[in-house]
C-alpha cells in the first residue's frame, strides 16, 4: 500500500497539473457563473413577464438537466448544429451556464426575504435600474447568501470532475490515468479525494471571511 502511494508520488507532476487545472476551471467558472447569476437575478425578479418568464425557463431547465448530460450536449451535440468548441471551452461553458442558473436562483431566494424598505429608500433617494441593483440590492444579497453561494462553489468543484469524459486533463482525469498506467486505483483516487478536499477547504475559508463581514452588519 505504501508502495502504491510511492507510485502516485512519482507521478506528482501529472497529479499537480490536474489539480491546477481543476482549480482554474473551478475558480473561473465560479466567478463567471456568479457574475452571470447576478445579471440573471434581476431578470427573474423582473416586472415584465416576458423577461421573468424567459429567465425562469432557463433556470428551471438548467436545474433539471444532469450536468453530465449538459457537458455531452455542449461537446458532442452542438457540433451537429455546426457549433464546435474545443474540450476546454465546452467544459468551461457547460460549468458556467449550468451554475449561473443555480447562483441566480440562490440570489433570488435571498432577495425575496430581504426587507422591502431599504430598497424602497434607494428608489426614494433617486437610485434606479442598474445602479439600484448594484449599489443597494445586491450587496446585502451577497452577504446573506454567502454560505449558500459557497456551497454552490463546492458543487462546481465536484461537477468539474465530470469533464474528464471530454478529456479535459483535470484532477480526476489525472488520477484515472495514473491508476490505469500503474494499476494503483485506491492510492490514486484517495489522493485525488484529498486534493479536492483541500480545494473545498479554501472555499470554506472564503465563505467564513464573507461570513465575518456579514456578521459585522447584522
Amino acid at each position: 500500500m505504501i508502495h502504491d502511494f510511492g507510485i502516485v508520488w512519482s507521478e506528482r507532476a501529472l497529479l499537480l497539473s490536474g489539480f491546477a487545472n481543476t482549480a482554474i476551471l473551478s475558480a473561473l467558472s465560479a466567478v463567471v457563473a456568479l457574475l452571470l447569476g447576478c445579471i440573471l437575478t434581476p431578470a427573474l425578479m423582473s416586472k415584465h413577464q416576458a423577461v421573468s418568464g424567459a429567465a425562469r425557463v432557463f433556470v428551471d431547465g438548467m436545474r433539471c438537466v444532469p450536468f453530465l448530460l449538459l457537458a455531452y450536449i455542449v461537446y458532442y451535440g452542438l457540433p451537429s448544429l455546426g457549433i464546435r468548441f474545443d474540450n476546454w471551452t465546452s467544459g468551461l461553458a457547460a460549468l458556467i451556464i449550468y451554475n449561473a442558473a443555480y447562483m441566480a436562483e440562490i440570489l433570488r431566494g435571498a432577495w425575496v426575504v430581504q426587507p422591502r424598505e431599504p430598497i424602497e429608500a434607494g428608489v426614494a433617494f433617486g437610485f434606479s435600474e442598474i445602479k439600484l441593483f448594484r449599489r443597494i440590492i445586491l450587496p446585502p444579497l451577497l452577504l446573506s447568501a454567502g454560505p449558500v453561494l459557497g456551497n454552490q462553489m463546492i458543487q462546481i468543484v465536484k461537477d468539474s470532475a465530470f469533464l474528464t469524459i471530454i478529456a479535459i486533463p483535470e484532477l480526476t482525469h489525472a488520477a484515472s490515468s495514473i491508476q490505469s498506467r500503474h494499476y494503483v486505483p485506491f492510492a490514486a483516487f484517495i489522493t485525488a479525494v484529498f486534493l479536492y478536499w483541500g480545494l473545498c477547504l479554501v472555499i470554506e475559508a472564503g465563505v467564513s471571511s464573507v461570513g465575518r463581514v456579514a456578521e459585522a452588519r447584522r
Binding site: 431599504p118 429608500a121 428608489v123 426614494a124 433617494f125 433617486g126 437610485f127 445602479k131 443597494i136 446585502p140
Partner: protein, 259 residues
C-alpha cells in the same frame, strides 16, 4: 404663504375597490412644517408616498417648486431617469429607518449624494460629518446600522435625507417603530429642523409634537382631507365632528397612560 414648495392638487388613489385617497389637495410653503394627522388607514402614508411617486397616483397633480412630479411636459409618465432626478430633491425618512445595512453610518449618508447626485466626494464627506454632529452621532460614523438603537437609526435616517440637500423632507411615521423612551431624541432633531426653516411634511401620531412644532395641520379621514389649519385651532377647536372624535380618543389614550 411664503414661496410655494409643494402643491398637491386633487390626488386620488385606489387599490382595487378600496379608495385610499379621494381628491386630496394641500400646499406647503417654504419653511413650513405640515403635520398630517388621522386615524390608521386614513391614507396618510399613501399620500406621502404619492408625493415622490413611490406610489403612482391615479388622478391629480403634484408640483415641486412649480415643476410637475411624475408627468413630463408632454403629458407622459416620466421615465426612471426623470423621476430619480426629482426624487433627489425630496428627502424621505421611513418608519422602519430603511438604512442600508451593508454600509456604515457615514457611507449611508454619502451614498446617494455621491452616487446619484454625483457631487464631489470630499465635500459630501465634510457635509455628512457636520450632519452627524448635528444629530449627535459623530462617534457612530463607522458603525453599521445593525449596531445602533432605534432612536440612533432614525437620527441617521434624518441625517441621510438631509445629506441630499433636499427642497422638501417627508417623514413617514418616524417615531412609530421606536420604544417610547427613544421617541424624544428623534423629536428633538425634528423640532430643530422645523426651527431652522426646513420644509417638511410629517405623518405622525405624536400629537404633542404636531401641536408644538407644526405650522399647519392636515387632518385626513377615510382618504379625504377633512380639515386643515393652524395647530392651535385644530387642537383646541376642531371644525369637524370626525376631528373632534379623533382628538378625544388620543386624549383618552394619554389619560390612560398610553401613547
Amino acid at each position: 404663504m411664503a414661496q410655494l414648495v409643494l402643491d398637491v392638487a386633487g390626488i386620488s388613489k385606489r387599490y382595487g375597490d378600496v379608495e385610499v385617497l379621494r381628491d386630496v389637495s394641500f400646499q406647503v410653503g417654504k419653511g413650513e412644517t405640515v403635520c398630517v394627522l388621522g386615524p390608521s388607514g386614513s391614507g396618510k402614508s399613501t399620500l406621502l408616498r404619492c408625493i415622490n411617486w413611490l406610489e403612482r397616483p391615479d388622478a391629480g397633480q403634484i408640483y415641486l417648486n412649480g415643476a410637475q412630479v411624475g408627468i413630463t411636459g408632454g403629458g407622459l409618465v416620466m421615465g426612471d431617469r426623470d423621476l430619480s432626478r426629482i426624487r433627489t430633491r425630496i428627502g424621505m425618512v421611513f418608519q422602519h429607518f430603511a438604512l442600508w445595512p451593508h454600509l456604515t453610518v457615514l457611507q449611508n449618508l454619502m451614498e446617494a449624494p455621491v452616487q446619484v447626485q454625483k457631487r464631489d466626494k470630499a465635500e459630501v464627506r465634510d457635509e455628512a460629518l457636520a450632519l452627524l454632529a448635528k444629530v449627535g452621532l459623530s462617534e457612530k460614523r463607522d458603525s453599521f446600522p445593525a449596531k445602533l438603537s432605534g432612536g440612533q437609526k432614525q437620527r441617521v435616517g434624518i441625517a441621510r435625507a438631509l445629506a441630499m440637500r433636499p427642497d422638501l423632507l417627508l417623514f413617514d411615521e418616524p417615531t412609530s417603530a421606536l420604544d417610547p423612551e427613544l421617541v424624544g431624541e428623534v423629536l428633538v432633531v425634528m423640532r430643530d429642523l422645523a426651527r431652522d426653516g426646513m420644509t417638511m411634511v410629517i405623518v405622525t401620531h405624536e400629537m404633542g409634537f404636531a401641536r408644538e412644532a407644526a405650522t399647519r395641520v392636515l387632518f385626513l379621514d377615510h382618504g379625504r382631507a377633512v380639515e386643515t389649519g393652524s395647530p392651535e385651532r385644530f387642537f383646541s377647536n376642531p371644525e369637524t365632528e370626525r376631528a373632534r372624535q379623533f382628538l378625544q380618543r388620543y386624549a383618552g389614550d394619554a389619560a390612560g397612560g398610553r401613547r
